[in-house]
Each structure stands twice: as structure tokens, then as C-alpha cells.
């Protein structure tokens, strides 16, 4: 995207450098993550297999292609999706505290998905499982409710927003537990739901992974024009309207795209906190608030963040795996509090 609104050339150079650096870091993170696990395959061997036609053993191939690669890519997709939706919601609510987890979109997606898991597990439409569609519906509906609750007189009140998001996501989380109790035979539904609530990135089938990755790509493309509108929206609804922006369209576009991304992330990794909050936050500290430039940077940084966190989740206590949701809470929580402390001046209400 070259529409970086005419900053001075040094700003542009810095942006391009950052994107290249992040892309390289993501490639390295994926490679190291692929190499990590019970069966060690050295990064050099993987690179040799890719570029110099030194084939790996059959076992190594199965481990890499069937188990590790889908999971590492899933982590990357989840991270990018969460980070972009966090960026979108922060822009829409004009508040750096908003993220899909905090404002309840993730909770809505999990509730929708749990309805799908328990009641419509066999159904599918348009190539998507009922579970995925219900996750999206749950996410959009929650966003619409929280947003309308938090708005008064054309303004979004921060405290109301956070409280509404908290209340709604708590209700949704406990509704999901309720479904768990209803499932009398204690079957696979419970296991799936539990791993979603903890935030576990599973090993997706290739079809599921490619559909979700395609969704991420589509949503990112839709997001490009929305990003410039978010810059205008930062001036406030009335100002944006006065500048000729159709604020309602922008709002609906952001809510739909952000919810789609959240649902995509939830369908692969369940409830994962902090990624959508921290990544845009740090990116903004480095790059400034221009959403057009933040989009590729947050997407890449989010992917890196989650690939690293998921690698830690499956390797630190190996052979026991811990849910990546827990890693994120342990790393992300304190880190976010540190950021909050460091920059608290900017959040004076």
C-alpha cells in the first residue's frame, strides 16, 4: 500500500524497512517453530529440503507436513487475524483498550461455535461448517449489542464500552459452560469446547486451514480502504461526517470485517487474550497511529507473536503441552500492564 498519505520520505523508508524486517522475522520464526518438537529436525535440514532437494526421511516429512506445519501456519493465521481485528476495533471505538477479547467478540464467537458443536455438528452450508458460521454470527451479534449499549448521543463512552464488553463476554463464557453441563454423554463436544475456552491451537486439516487463510486474506483486502476511513473516524463521528465520510457504512464495514477475523481466529485457536490488544498497541508506539501503515505491520507482528507463543506452549513443558491462551495471559498480561504504566498519560479520561 503506497497510499501512506504523503509522509516525509524518511517515514516511508522506516515503514518499508519495518515490513521487510517483520516478514523476515516471521519466516525465521516459522522455521524455528517447525524445527522444535519431540523429533528434532534441524532448520538447516528443512532449508536443504526446500532449496537443495535433499529429501527428509519419510517420518520427518509426515511430522513436518501433517503435524507441525499446519499448526504453525494456524498460529500465524490466528495471530494476524486477532491483531488486525484488534486494530480495527481500537480504531472504531477510538480507544486503545478495545480488542476482540475485551469487548466480547471472541466470547460471542465461542458461544456461537458451542451451539454449533453441540446441536449442529453435522450441518454445513456454503462449504462452511455450521460451527464456523455460528461463530461468525455470535461474534457479529455480540459486537452489535456491545456497540449499541456503549453509544449515547453519537459518542462511544469508553467506560460503558469496557463494562458492557465485560458483562456480555462473562455471560457468554458462562453460557458456554452451561452447554458443557447439558452434554450428558461427556463426549467429544466437551473436549472441543474446553480446548476452545482455554485457547488451544489444534492441528487443523489442510482444507480448514486454507479456507481460514483465504478468509484472512479477503478480510485484509477489504480492510485496506477501511483503514483510511479509520484515520478520518479518529476525528470523531461528526467531524468525519462533515468531511464527507459515510460513517454508518464505515462502522458496519469494520464490525463485519473485525467480527469475521475474530471468528476465523476463534475457529482455529479458541479464546486467546491480549494478542489483539498488545500487537496494535506496540505497532502504534513504533509507527504512529496511521492505520493504513499499521495494517500490514500488525498483521505480520501478530503472526510472529502467536507463532512464538505457540511454540513456547508446546515446547517449554514438553512433553506436556499447555494451551497457548495461558502463555498469552502469562506473557501478555504483565507486558500490557507495563505498557499501560509507561504510557498512562495518554489514557487520561
Amino acid at each position: 500500500m503506497s497510499s501512506g498519505d504523503g509522509h516525509s520520505p524518511p517515514g516511508r523508508a522506516r515503514f518499508v524497512t519495518l515490513v521487510v524486517l517483520l516478514a523476515a522475522t516471521l519466516a525465521i520464526a516459522v522455521l524455528l517453530s517447525l524445527a522444535t518438537g519431540a523429533v528434532r529436525v534441524s532448520p538447516a535440514a528443512i532449508l536443504a529440503a526446500l532449496f537443495q532437494h535433499h529429501p527428509l526421511t519419510a517420518t520427518q516429512q509426515i511430522i513436518l507436513l501433517q503435524i507441525r506445519l499446519p499448526r504453525v501456519l494456524a498460529a500465524a493465521v490466528v495471530g494476524a487475524a486477532l491483531a488486525i481485528s484488534g486494530l480495527m476495533f481500537q480504531g472504531l471505538f477510538r480507544n486503545p483498550m478495545a480488542d476482540p477479547y475485551v469487548i466480547g467478540a471472541s466470547g460471542g464467537a465461542v458461544l456461537g461455535a458451542s451451539v454449533g458443536i453441540y446441536f449442529f455438528s453435522q450441518l454445513s452450508a456454503f462449504g462452511f461448517s455450521a460451527t464456523a458460521l455460528l461463530a461468525f454470527a455470535g461474534s457479529v451479534a455480540t459486537m452489535a449489542v456491545v456497540y449499541s449499549l456503549a453509544r449515547a448521543n453519537g459518542k462511544t463512552h469508553v467506560i460503558t464500552l469496557l463494562l458492557a464488553g465485560f458483562a456480555v463476554s462473562t455471560m457468554l463464557a458462562y453460557s458456554s459452560y452451561f452447554f458443557e453441563l447439558l452434554d450428558s454423554n461427556g463426549g467429544s463436544g466437551n473436549r472441543i469446547l474446553l480446548s476452545w475456552l482455554h485457547g488451544v491451537i489444534g492441528i487443523p486439516r489442510w482444507t480448514q486451514l486454507s479456507v481460514t487463510a483465504a478468509l484472512l486474506l479477503l478480510a485484509t483486502m477489504v480492510a485496506v480502504p477501511l483503514m483510511r476511513q479509520l484515520n478520518t473516524l479518529a476525528l470523531g463521528d461528526e467531524y468525519a461526517h462533515q468531511l464527507g465520510l459515510r460513517v454508518e457504512y464505515t462502522r458496519v464495514g469494520i464490525i463485519l470485517t473485525g467480527s469475521l477475523l475474530t471468528a476465523a481466529a476463534v475457529s482455529l485457536g479458541g479464546l486467546i487474550s491480549f494478542a489483539g490488544l498488545i500487537v496494535p498497541h506496540i505497532a502504534r508506539l513504533i509507527l504512529g497511529p496511521d492505520h493504513v501503515r499499521l495494517l500490514p505491520v500488525t498483521a505480520l507482528a501478530g503472526a510472529i507473536f502467536l507463532v512464538v507463543a505457540d511454540t513456547l506452549a508446546r515446547s517449554v513443558f514438553a512433553p506436556t503441552e499447555i494451551p497457548v491462551g495461558i502463555v498469552m495471559a502469562f506473557i501478555g498480561g504483565p507486558f500490557f500492564l507495563y505498557l499501560l504504566r509507561k504510557t498512562k498519560r495518554s489514557y487520561a479520561l
Binding site: S3, D5, G6, P225, N231, Y239, L243
Partner: protein
């Protein structure tokens, strides 16, 4: 000559009675009009109606003889710029990034800023004399600097009509004069100006027309000399005769001139 903007019997209410009651007036192209009136009488509301941000409940606001609410909002935004009192930014945008938002009505869904837009932004920054501030963070500027940046944002829209809500409010007297000079300069550039002004002493010599909005009486419109008479101001502002230095001074100077 047809007016640039015409209020034809415009009324507007927020729900509890009419905030604006059948207001009618014209803004001629090239004029520089000050809007005065007591606190809470609806000056900001009137400006927001003129900007098309609010829609009147009866009557019509006409821009070049066309009803404002029938024009596309992008068309309006290319002709009228509104500089509100407050601009609160949630993030640390630079001055340039803020002013670039003025190009919004010229951009499409897939058409990002081009060379023309950069030129317009440069010119707006220069006109409002904030070029040197362009890489500063907006939220860290002083009140006077912010005021000029908001005006630059409006100028980036390349408007024919610039609406300003209390542009001199919270400015020290030096910054007030700088701002008035800027308005003179913009008027010379061919921009029609309509500003609500709290400091009545700034009007004479700086504005061509005064519009007095007061409660329960029709709008009064005229030259500063016609409208800014103690008898009219005392009544409109419900201020006891000669208690305010402004009223007192004027009475004396007029007395001297008459004698």
C-alpha cells in the same frame, strides 16, 4: 447576486422545543460574517445546520440555491468546511496526518491520496501558517496552534465557505489577533467566512456583516456599526445598561463622535 448560503425559514429542535426558530438570512459570496448572541442561544447549532451536520426540522438551507440535504455529503464537504470548537484525538496523530483528513471528500474507496492531495495539504498548512508544526503531535500543541491546525484541516477541503465555531475562544489577545489576521488573509483568498464570535470587540473592522441571534426575537443582520449598538446589545444579552465596559466605552465614543 444569489447568496452562497441561504437559510430560508429554518427551524430546528433537539426534541424539547425549537433551538432555532424560523431563522432566515443570506451569506453572500466573499463576505465575512460574525455570528453573535448570548450563551446557549444556539450559535453552534446554527453553524452545524449550515455545515449540513444537522438537518433542519422545517424550512431549508440552500447552498447555491440547492437544498443542502439533497446534495451528496461529499459534494457539501468540498464546498463547506466546518471548524468546530473541539477536536479530541484518541491517538498521537501528527499535524500533517490531521490536515490530510481534509482530503477525505476527494478520495475514493480505492483512490488514495495523490500528488494533487499532497499539494492541497501543503498549501493548507502554509495558508494557516502551521507548516513548521507539521511533524509535531497534534495533542501536544497549544490552544492557539490547535486552532490554526483545525483551520488548515478545513482549508485542505478547498472550501468556498469556512464555518468557524468560536475560533478566538481560549486564545490570549496576541493569538486572537493572529487568528483575525488569518481570517482577513483567507477572505482575500476568496473564501467566504462565517464565524461565531464571543469577543464582540474583535468584530468591528474585521467582519463585514454581523448576525445577532437572541432568544425569542428574530435574527438581526447588518453591518457592525448597525448591530453593535449598546441599545441592541443590552437587550439581546440581557445586560444592564452601561454595566459592561464594552457598552460603556461605546456609548462614550459615540457621544464624542456625535458631539
Amino acid at each position: 447576486m444569489n447568496p452562497l448560503l441561504r437559510f430560508a425559514d429554518v427551524s430546528f429542535g433537539y426534541g424539547d422545543g425549537d433551538a432555532i426558530q424560523s431563522a432566515s438570512f443570506d451569506l453572500q459570496e466573499g463576505s465575512c460574517t460574525a455570528l453573535i448572541g448570548p450563551n446557549g442561544v444556539g450559535k453552534t447549532t446554527l453553524l452545524r445546520l449550515a455545515a449540513g451536520v444537522l438537518r433542519c426540522t422545517s424550512g431549508s438551507v440552500l447552498l447555491n440555491d440547492e437544498p443542502l440535504n439533497r446534495l451528496a455529503i461529499r459534494t457539501v464537504a468540498r464546498t463547506i468546511a466546518f471548524v468546530p470548537q473541539q477536536l479530541d484525538l484518541p491517538f498521537q496523530f501528527t499535524v500533517r496526518q490531521v490536515v490530510e483528513q481534509g482530503r477525505t471528500p476527494y478520495l475514493g474507496l480505492l483512490r488514495g491520496p495523490m500528488r494533487d492531495d499532497r499539494i492541497a495539504v501543503d498549501r493548507a498548512l502554509k495558508l494557516a501558517d502551521v507548516s513548521v508544526l507539521q511533524h509535531r503531535i497534534f495533542n501536544e500543541l497549544s490552544g492557539g496552534e490547535r486552532q490554526r491546525v483545525k483551520i488548515a484541516l478545513g482549508l485542505a477541503q478547498q472550501p468556498k465557505l469556512l464555518l468557524l465555531d468560536e475560533p478566538t475562544q481560549n486564545l490570549d489577545i496576541g493569538r486572537q489577533i493572529e487568528l483575525i489576521d488569518l481570517l482577513h488573509f483567507l477572505r482575500a483568498e476568496g473564501i467566504t467566512i462565517f464565524a461565531s464570535i464571543h469577543d464582540i470587540q474583535l468584530i468591528e473592522g474585521n467582519f463585514s456583516t454581523v448576525l445577532l441571534l437572541s432568544r425569542d426575537t428574530p435574527l438581526v443582520s447588518g453591518t457592525p456599526a448597525d448591530v453593535l449598538k449598546p441599545s441592541i446589545l443590552e437587550k439581546a444579552f440581557n445586560c444592564p445598561p452601561r454595566r459592561h465596559p464594552l457598552l460603556l466605552e461605546r456609548t462614550q465614543s459615540r457621544g464624542k463622535r456625535a458631539g
